[in-house]
């Protein structure tokens, strides 16, 4: 499957490959650190030994309650959503050949929301399992539109036009959702709870079955790595290297849909994870997707876990009482400035 010439090329960058193998243990260590942080830190700090004890059902009953019910939920959700959003971000940036693509900004999450609203309005109140199907359908439609647009000559090679199209597309979808929500009180009532969107919205029992979607999506993503590497050279070169661009696009679309649809169904719209992680990883290990994709599966959940923990710790301090800063807000505050820094640091010609 993997073309020899590209292998030869990536072998030239010996230093980055050397760093890459170091990157894996570091990423795994960081993820473990993130998991520990997420379980131990919060409104109340719990020593690590007690955390471990409580996970096995022994120790202080209060600790079991806090860790077992609240923190395990958000930790599990953060890992699922992180894996999904990180891999989806890498795939989107690779396939659209756009360094600033992000599923959240391009409207995939808005598509999932619209799917849920449409489902609610047609079928009335629906359960958690039905919600996921509507979210997936909406995400599929939205990512199909975005990929189609990125492939036309109107957006090809123009990051900014694709982003603007995504912004407008999200706006249209949000407008359509709003017009349904605001005219149908039944839908408003159900949608209100769905779109609050934080890592505590779904219990572990509800979220665990959805892991299947994420695993399938992530596996497809990992298998696509070499083919997408070849596609980075352009469709013609990819074809001559034995890759079928149509099939790769279709599979990428499927994978992004599974990943983003599930993440949105679990946690609501979370932006910027899919933008920041691929950038960070490319800077460390270079553009080879065979390294970036698997690393994103560790790095993105770490970012989400840390963001969630930060939101928990600084929450309550600003307004209200005992509140927390939702993880999506924290990621926006991390990702927004990074995007600005990237844009400002770039020469104009490279973006337009």
């Amino acid at each position: 499957m993997f073309p020899a010439s590209v292998t030869a090329e990536s072998d030239v960058r010996a230093p980055s490959t050397g760093r890459a193998w170091l990157a894996f243990p570091v990423a795994i260590l960081l993820l473990v650190g993130g998991l520990v942080l997420s379980l131990a830190v919060g409104a109340r700090f719990i020593p690590f030994d007690q955390v471990v004890l409580s996970l096995f059902g022994t120790g202080d009953q209060n600790v079991i309650n806090i860790v077992g019910e609240l923190r395990v939920t958000r930790t599990v959700n953060a890992v699922i959503c992180g894996v999904a959003l990180g891999a989806a971000g890498v795939l989107m940036q690779a396939l659209t050949r756009n360094p600033i693509a992000d599923p959240g900004m391009l409207g995939v999450n808005a598509g999932a929301s619209f799917g849920v609203v449409a489902g609610l309005s047609v079928f009335g109140a629906i359960g958690a399992t039905e919600t996921i199907w509507f979210a997936l359908a909406g995400a599929a439609a939205a990512s199909a539109v975005i990929f189609w647009f990125s492939g036309t000559r109107f957006a090809a090679g123009s990051p900014v036009r694709l982003i603007l199209a995504g912004v407008a597309f999200s706006a249209v979808l949000a407008g359509l959702s709003q017009s349904i929500v605001l005219t149908d009180e039944r839908v408003l009532d159900a949608f209100r709870f769905w779109r609050v969107g934080s890592l505590t919205a779904r219990s572990v029992d509800e979220a665990l079955p959805l892991i299947v979607f994420v695993v399938v999506g992530a596996l497809i993503a990992l298998l696509l790595g070499p083919a997408l590497n070849a596609m980075a050279l352009g469709d013609d070169s990819a074809i001559s290297l034995g890759v079928r661009p149509g099939a790769v696009r279709g599979l990428t679309l499927l994978s992004v849909t599974l990943l983003c649809g599930t993440a949105t169904a679990i946690a609501g719209p979370i932006s910027f994870v899919g933008l920041v992680i691929p950038h960070l990883l490319r800077r460390i290990v270079g553009p080879d997707l065979r390294l970036v994709l698997p690393l994103s599966l560790f790095a993105a959940p770490t970012m989400l876990l840390v963001a969630d923990t930060v939101g928990r710790v600084i929450g309550g301090g600003f307004i209200g009482d005992g509140g927390e800063v939702q993880v999506g807000v924290v990621t926006a505050f991390i990702g927004g400035p990074l995007l600005i820094a990237y844009v400002i640091g770039r020469r104009r010609e490279r973006l337009s």
Binding site: L176, Q178, L182, T183, Q326, G336, I340, I344
Partner: protein
């Protein structure tokens, strides 16, 4: 002088004073006339239709000061007229602000909502309303401050690359995302009832807008519009590029800052009155350029007023229940924006 006038279309009327001259383009004048007529017609329609239908005769009598019955007077003068006037004022303000931003940045896709100024107003208003516990009037002040802060940050960040260029837009998109994250956070921290009120405001709605909302907006406009009229000739020169306009005697830095402040204030006034209504600022200048054949603030203002008034009528009567006008403009405007991108891309190839 002969050489110059031969460049102009034959029928253009040129008024000359001791130190000024004003060219009135035939097509632009015609277009503005037609737009004005359309606006008056639409205004009449807005006053007549609804659950309580007013006949044309009764409408004229009411407007002349002697309504045929109390109910007609109440609906026309107390409800529909102020709401329609608010729509006109807000639409026109947004449109002119959009025209200024597009001209300043020389980018047809720039508009206060795309580059984040509108999100800044949302943050300001929501913080004042929900965190500081202020009234809706104080929220307007917060909106103005929010708009100025975002505009200032964008200016600072993109000062080196000049205001034009995609950096401005992408910076705005990122700032907008941050601002909306703040809004979401604040909304999630307060009681449901106040969050719902704020949510409706955030979509942009003319529901229940009346004379008390109109008066402060008109007062603010009375201060901003003369400023714009004064700077408009410089603005037209500015469009030729910095070096050319400097050579023609325009103080480019002063002109640019004046325009930026004026446009930001216009957005703030509009948002403080009706909430952040999306895409009117983006759309109106484009349509106006199409219709009038030239970039004219007056034509843009008329188109903006028409757009918002028409959208409000749609929002009121085209759905089973009235919806906020912002929902209509965001949907219609978003589609238009995509078409615009498409055409822009097609031109560049």
């Amino acid at each position: 002088m002969t050489a110059r006038s031969s460049v102009l279309p034959m029928d253009d009327l040129v008024l000359r004073g001791p130190s000024w001259s004003l060219r009135i383009g035939r097509r632009a004048a015609l277009a503005c006339g037609i737009l004005l007529a359309a606006l008056v017609l639409l205004l009449a329609a807005a006053l007549m239709i609804g659950d309580y239908v007013v006949t044309p005769g009764a409408l004229i009598e009411t407007l002349l000061g002697n309504p045929p019955d109390r109910l007609t007077g109440f609906f026309v003068l107390g409800r529909r007229l102020p709401r329609a006037l608010v729509a006109i004022v807000v639409g026109a303000s947004l449109a002119v602000a959009g025209a200024v931003f597009q001209m300043l940045t020389r980018n047809p896709l720039a508009s206060p909502d795309v580059i984040g100024v509108s999100s800044g107003t949302s943050v300001g208003a929501v913080v004042v309303l929900l965190v500081l516990g202020g009234s809706f009037d104080q929220a307007a002040v917060g909106a103005v401050i929010g708009a100025l802060v975002v505009a200032g940050v964008i200016m600072l960040l993109t000062a080196r690359s000049g205001l034009h260029g995609v950096q401005l837009i992408l910076t705005g998109v990122a700032l907008s995302a941050i601002a909306m994250a703040v809004v979401d956070y604040v909304l999630s921290q307060v009681f449901v009832a106040s969050a719902t009120t704020a949510q409706t405001w955030l979509v942009g709605s003319l529901q229940g807008r009346g004379w008390p909302d109109l008066v402060p907006a008109v007062i603010a406009l009375a201060a901003i519009v003369p400023l714009l009229v004064w700077i408009a000739p410089d603005a037209r020169m500015l469009a030729l590029g910095d070096s050319v306009s400097t050579a023609l005697g325009v103080r480019t830095v002063r002109a640019r800052w004046t325009l930026l402040v004026a446009a930001t204030l216009l957005v703030a006034v509009a948002v403080a009155t009706a909430g952040p209504i999306s895409f009117v600022a983006l759309l109106a200048p484009h349509i106006a350029r199409r219709v009038a054949g030239t970039a004219s603030f007056l034509a843009a203002a008329l188109v903006g007023a028409l757009l918002l008034l028409a959208s409000d009528l749609l929002a009121l009567y085209a759905f089973p229940a009235p919806i906020p006008v912002g929902v209509v403009t965001i949907t219609v405007g978003g589609v238009f924006f995509l078409l615009l991108l498409w055409r822009e891309g097609a031109r560049r190839g």
